[in-house]
Amino acid sequence: MDAFAFYVLALLTVASALVVVTHRNPVVSAVALAFNLVSIAGFYVLLGAQFIGLLQVLVYAGAIMVLILFVIMLLNLAEELPPVKVAGTFQRVLAPAATLTFAVVLGRALWRDTPATLPPASEGFGTAAVLGRELFTRYYYPFEVISLLLVVAMVGAVLLAKRKLT
């Protein structure tokens, strides 16, 4: 039952990732990415981290992707052209080759050093209570710093996108 869900989700994830990377229209890319994020949230739930999975849908798919879609529509971006400059063909061959090499090396390392079965989840593994306790005791300083970072990002975004009134 779990394996069936895993394979279906994996298929959806890879298919939507392919659409994100290859489709010319940025709006279609964005919607495919949103779909991808929701399927990855499904993976999180499957692995037992339900709170993070729900946060992923709420924050990533529900807010960040909507923001990206907004900007694409506001800027009225046309369909994108493939790389056609002199270095275009060179790029189109070298980039996938290099990435493939990297992926093979990484994949082999990960495959050899992980067990073949999942251990049972610890008590309260994916719940908000456990996460909250850790966040407010051991990771208290990073928590405060990241709220500061969010404020900085907000101020920066507003300033950068403001129209200069000259």
Binding site: V27, V38, L58, L69, F70, A128
Partner: protein, 347 residues
């Protein structure tokens, strides 16, 4: 998986889905009759006694309309958007407890479809996903009115998600759990035990209601889809059953918003006064209490719609960011203080 559990789950889903769809149809009738009463005229009264068969007549009208797809539209998203509007709205209802723990087929069954640990977050995640339908419908119609309406609607929805979620966080702070069944269980007893009276009384409830009106694109926040402003906003280019789907999605969103408000603030299915009953009579009464509270909330939606004029778009955004957001932050801080000193937050 034993078959009885599957049967019970299926029964719950079947019941909730059908009641929701029936309630949506009923709400269209209620809206038109109540607006008639408020405006000192009769509503629909031709089709059936008191016009009760009007929703059926509306449905037949929608189904027999011609299926128009604009020439220039981006067809996959154009066709997907109405479905994308209805599904998340229905999904959010999955975590709402509509009754106590009943004994069915010899086992205890909590009357909620999905009783998970972060249940409340599921409701908000589903509502957040509903924004995509508006954006995609507005963009895929390839029309200036639709695009502007779609962008405005979705900007409004995500802006008001903040005060909505913050007012809920205050309730979660007092309750100490994200599970809706536990939140309802904590409001047992007399009606002054309901969350609306705890913490700072009524402030969180008021914030939630106002943000709920903005979330569901209802007056006074319905500028993006008002006639005479942007024709019909993001659903300008839709006709027939697709338009009806957006309509349905709006009503289901209203119902989800009401149900969430009832669960979090008004005690869910709790009666609010002790009754000397046991077993099925008590449970039926409690389910009836839930339905009555949600019905009251829905009536409030309709009442406010036909009473208040609508906000201009910049007034709307100002109210959200500069008005509701600071108030909800103050509410959260004050509730946190009250929880620290354990004053009026009996768990």
């Amino acid at each position: 998986m034993d078959p009885v559990a599957i049967l019970i789950a299926f029964l719950k889903i079947f019941l909730v889905f059908n009641v929701l769809m029936g309630a949506v149809a009923f709400m269209t009738w209620v809206e038109r009759r109540v607006s008639g009463i408020i405006q000192y005229r009769l509503g629909p009264n031709r089709v059936g006694p008191w016009g009760l068969l009007q929703p059926i007549a509306d449905g037949i009208k929608f189904i027999q309309k011609k299926d128009i797809v604009p020439d220039d539209a981006y067809v996959p998203f154009y066709l997907m958007a109405p479905a994308l509007a209805v599904v998340p709205a229905l999904f959010a209802f999955v975590v709402i407890p509509f009754g106590p723990e009943v004994v069915l087929f010899g086992r205890k069954v909590p009357l909620v479809i999905l009783d998970m640990d972060g249940g409340l977050l599921w409701g908000f995640a589903a509502t957040a996903l509903g924004v995509y339908a508006l954006v995609l419908a507005g963009w895929a119609s390839r029309s200036k009115f639709s695009l502007m309406g779609g962008l405005r609607s979705s900007a409004q929805m995500i802006s008001y998600e903040l005060p909505l979620v913050l007012s809920i966080v205050a309730v979660v702070l007092m309750a100490g759990t994200l599970r809706p069944t536990e939140i309802v269980a904590q409001q047992a007893g007399w009606f002054w035990n309901w969350n609306v009276c705890k913490g700072i009384p009524f402030l969180g409830f008021l914030l939630f209601t106002i943000a709920g009106y903005a979330e569901t694109n209802r007056v006074p926040f319905d500028l993006p889809e008002a006639e005479g402003e942007l024709v019909a906003g993001y659903h300008t280019e839709y006709s027939g059953m697709r338009f009806a789907a957006f309509f349905m999605a709006e009503y289901v969103n209203m119902m989800t918003s009401s149900a969430l408000g009832v669960t979090l603030f008004l005690g869910g299915w709790q009666l609010g006064f002790p009754v000397a009953l046991e077993g099925w009579p008590l449970w039926a009464l409690q389910i009836g209490a839930f339905v009555a509270k949600v019905a009251f909330f829905q009536f409030l939606f309709v009442w406010v719609r036909w009473t208040l004029p609508r906000f201009r778009y910049d007034q709307l955004m100002n109210l959200g960011w500069k008005g509701l957001l600071p108030v909800s932050l103050v509410n959260l801080a004050a509730t946190a203080l009250l929880v620290t000193f354990d004053f009026n937050v009996t768990r």
